[in-house]
């Protein structure tokens, strides 16, 4: 009996593997990474957007508004729609989010409602790699509703994505340290290791230094679990183990704020610089106050508008690359007072 069950299970496993191989519709995101385009390189190439000359109802399936990042995404999309309305286009944007980043099914019902109402195009940020699959299939395969993913995409990838390149974020932070300190010891506080953003930012940082400036060594990498307190606790210990530490790179700004508290209580604000990631309002305030050295800002407010532009281009029938990296750069004391749109050269969505 046990043998029978075992054989049946092996057969099932085999079948599912064959099934997965046959359904060639979806491709791994990594296959597109090599052809990825930076938005600012793309902008000139794309040319003007043909005037749609009709009403649009767009939807944005967001993750969770408890996170400032996603709120900025939403506000950007709404601001983008408002600007187009002011210019005389009848384009509406409906941005809704799940109840927290654990509410995978709630997010699916939000998407399903938008799909069933036959929205003209959808921006989508799936909570997990698979939770929106039924909605995505119905939109793309049954109803021909174009989709552009914002920041996160399901794997395998089934439509275009506009988002920050996490790897590049790590590289930008590394480059900043290289200019600022030249040589010496730095440490990394990572996000929860299962998150791709945490892994890629960390690896991008390490490898940029290995290649471009081996005089800076990463002496420690600790997990801060995206948590302020855990980041502070870890930094406290690292600062004592490596008294000559010249910098800490944190995978997000919440943790960076914890690192800053540790650096402050060790009286090392002038010798040990903390760089965060994301560009939250708290990080900006801290940079202005002369505490946080900088943050790799990925401008979520403009990220969603770039996603929206790509979506409108798709609706208008234009071809857009599968992967478009949205602009990001280090915001520090030098450029903290410059407007984000000016920093990244964003000029808004324009029709011909």
């Amino acid at each position: 009996m046990r043998k029978l069950v075992l054989t049946a299970m092996t057969a099932l496993l085999g079948l599912s593997l064959v099934g997965a191989a046959l359904s060639g519709e979806w491709k791994q995101a990594s296959e597109y990474a090599k052809d990825a385009v930076k938005y600012n390189d793309l902008k000139a190439k794309l040319g003007p957007i043909p005037n749609p000359g009709k009403k649009f109802q767009l939807g944005f399936v967001c993750k969770a508004f408890e996170n400032e990042f996603w709120r900025n995404n939403r506000d950007g999309a709404n601001a983008g729609a408002k600007a187009l309305q002011d210019a005389g286009f009848d384009i509406k944007m409906d941005a809704k989010a799940a109840q927290g980043e654990g509410d995978e099914t709630g997010q699916l019902s939000i998407m399903m409602t938008m799909v069933n109402r036959n929205y003209d195009g959808l921006l989508v940020s799936p909570i997990s790699e698979g939770n929106l699959q039924p909605g995505i299939e119905r939109a793309l395969l049954e109803k021909n509703i174009p989709i552009v993913y914002v920041n996160d995409a399901p794997s395998p990838l089934s439509s275009n994505i506009a988002g920050a390149y996490h790897w590049e974020a790590g590289e930008l932070a590394a480059e900043w340290f290289s200019k600022k300190i030249g040589s010496g010891e730095v440490a990394i506080i990572t996000g929860t290791p299962r998150a791709a953003a945490a892994r890629e930012r960390t690896e991008g940082f390490k490898q940029w230094l290995e290649k471009n400036n081996p005089a800076i060594t990463v002496v420690d990498t600790q997990n801060g679990d995206w948590d302020r307190m855990k980041a502070k606790d870890a930094t406290d210990v690292i600062l004592k183990k490596f008294p000559n530490l010249k910098g800490v790179y944190a995978n997000n700004d919440t943790m960076a704020m914890g690192c800053i508290e540790a650096v402050k209580s060790a009286n090392k604000l002038n010798s040990c610089f903390v760089i965060g990631t994301d560009g939250t309002s708290e990080a900006h305030a801290s940079i202005k106050a002369g505490e946080l050295a900088g943050t790799v800002d990925n401008f979520p407010f403009y990220m969603s508008q770039i996603g929206m532009e790509l979506l409108i281009r798709k609706i208008a029938g234009q071809d857009v690359p599968m992967m478009v990296y949205t602009p990001q750069l280090v915001v520090d004391a030098q450029n903290i007072n410059t407007d984000g749109a000016e920093l990244i050269g964003w000029t808004g969505i324009r029709f011909e």
């Binding site: 508004f65 307190m229 210990v237 508290e261």
Partner: protein, 321 residues
Amino acid sequence: MNKLFSTHGRELSALIAIILMFVIFTGIDSIYMSPDNIRDIIEQATIYGLMGIGITGIIIAGGIDLGVGSALAFTAVVVARQAVNGVHPVYCMLLGIVIGAALGMVNGLLVTKFKLQPFIATMGTMSIYRGMAYLYTEAIPVIGVPREYRFFVDGEILPYVRSSILIFVIFAVIVHIILRYTCFGNHVYAVGGNEEAARLSGVRVGYVRTMVYSLGMVGTALAAMVQLGKLGAGDPTTGQGYELNAIAAAAIGGTSMAGGRGTILGTVLGAILFSGLKVGLIVAGVDIFWQYVATGLVIIVSAYVEVLQNTLSSGPAAKRA
């Protein structure tokens, strides 16, 4: 010695584990024994320690509280807002304690009056308290907690002694006295050991349960206020997953998940073991993925030591009978 081991076996084995841990990590890197490092270990034990002390009482009474992480966030943001508005630290502390007691009492009433399973009831309030923290702040961290408040709860009042450690010690002593030397304390153990027997012997089970949830959450409120002092910002997203670490501190210290058994001293040692391990793994330069494995191993091994002790101590007793 035998007698000491039979009455305080759990605490002794936790203490032995701590000494062992110190020997091992100091062997790897002598910096582990430096005063600065030991101070880090004790300071980092305060948050989970305060939460763990509170939850120990709840677990002894046969309950569980999964909502402490969310309650930590809610208390932190409310107190942070008041501190930023210039309310005196003492009033901030009092307010936090009242909030903690109230949040705990809600959990207690859900369990006793509405007869909900503690696991389900506190899972519900876990979500409600988190939502309240988001609503209160619109999910934006409350920043700029004034220096006076931060010094009051986490200032270095003596060389190497922060006020947060005093708060930790005082709360531990108070709860220890309540559990060990008062009638209420006896009832807590009785309710967790055998609820029916306690009820029949006249213990007001519902009252005891409700009060122990309330007292327990005060520990979390204190942890929230200490954390506020350490971070200088009230973050509504904080505390996620902290409940498990607090429960782990209690469990490592010998609190029985079935109720009826456990001590505050054990939990304090458990919290120190836990933070000593965290710091040690960083000092020793252990890969972050292996840190997960090591932490899990320590929890399992220390639980197994308790099982071993039970079989050892019940062995000779059984023979005598």
